[in-house]
Symmetry: D2
Subunit: 144 residues, 4 copies
């Protein structure tokens, strides 16, 4: 199984923190969204383009482990991994890294649905092609 | 000019606070939304019904004065006042009250727009009728 | 093992929705927070009191399954269950119910930590006593 | 009067949008926060450093005009201007720009307060020095 991987950096904002002085637990899902979105953009299929074609990609399951708190003004790296397995359910994994320490990790599951009916649909061609290109790029970089 | 007025209570949640230990400044606009929505429901025209008819009511201007911080678990009263003036622009005023002290106040301005085009439209009949009923109720209660 | 259970209702606000027209996935953790907080208040130990004694209760793990979307203006019931097991890790489970359908469910895990050091501490006496009272209330209501 | 100015770019995320398909009105205050924070970092006085010295800079007033909606995945430029006037109240102005159109503008007012008492304090030396350096840089670039 091939995996596609992408790193994005995010600055923690005041709006993200709570009175514990750390990032509010719900905001990690925003960070995961950013990681996922930038991975898609990186492989050439911006999520906005998928939506323009009528395909939504809602989260159907999410899991988060909070190992150490993220703090105000931290520069987080979100390391997003998509394990390509050609099933209707997409699985993404995330690590939040600060100064090379993993401070949180998690995963989300998604299925493509039609924007009008919210019924499951097959992944758009646009998406499958981008994933295929990304996989062959990964394989080539491994073989070199 | 007649005014329509409604009080709603809101509990401050951890998610609303920031690392200053108080409510994050942007979240007051959420409280104003709740005050405005409950005023509309109170006069018999839930905002969801307006949207179901294709009328959106976006905020075109907002102003907030933060007098004293709101704190975690505070039970806020949002006092919302709609000054009925039959112009296309709706003006709402808000006071946030804790233990009978006004800790913040503000205002928002809105115009009805079409949900598809975002172009200004006249206020829906549903809305005008509800406002008229609310005004005559207010006048009657004043006269008694 | 005894369980303590509490239901709270939450109105979905515009601020909670995203452009899919449904509640943003990260906001369910806010709903879980509200369920948990009201359960604690219900058994007589408001979370604010625990914090006043220097005990924080951060989330160390969270899991959410999104079965059907929650929509604007929905009146959600958050059904929170605390399975009392006298270990240092608290486990809470949640169901989000709309019109008697479970539309989402999830769980969170927590440990008490010191507010200054963020090091794990034993559950405060205040908390243990409240839980004990709640359990014996539950047992009595079962026996009757 | 000298002004200090700084541009920052922000990508609009799904979490920022609401069911109108545009950015939720309250989230503009988050964008203003980012603009303000990056202006401070740019002139050499990261806000986190001010807090480390015990100085908080809460918002005491905010004003926003929404001219055109910001949309999902838009790349916003937040243009932040600080009009240096050596009074205890800081005034910042903001423009949100998409493709060289100003789609929103606003302002915030702030005073430095002590982190423990929330009482007003004089601006920290660290801050005043950074502002002075920024002003003389601006003047020099104007004179050249």
């Amino acid at each position: 199984m091939t995996t596609v991987r992408h790193d994005t950096t995010i600055r923690v904002r005041y709006a993200d923190t709570d009175k514990m002085g750390v990032v509010y637990n719900g905001n990690y899902l925003r960070y995961f969204e950013i990681g996922r979105t930038e991975l898609l953009r990186h492989i050439g299929v911006p999520y906005a383009q998928l939506e323009a074609q009528g395909a939504l990609l809602p989260v159907i399951e999410a899991h988060i482990e909070y190992l150490r708190p993220a703090r105000y003004d931290d520069l987080l790296t979100v390391r997003t991994t998509y394990a390509v397995d050609r099933t209707p359910v997409l699985r993404l994994a995330y690590e939040i890294v600060v100064d090379s320490d993993v401070i949180a990790r998690g995963s989300t599951r998604h299925t493509f649905v039609d924007h009008a009916t919210f019924k499951p649909i097959r992944p758009p061609r646009l998406f499958l092609d981008a994933v295929e290109r990304a996989c062959s790029d990964t394989l080539q970089s491994v073989q070199q």
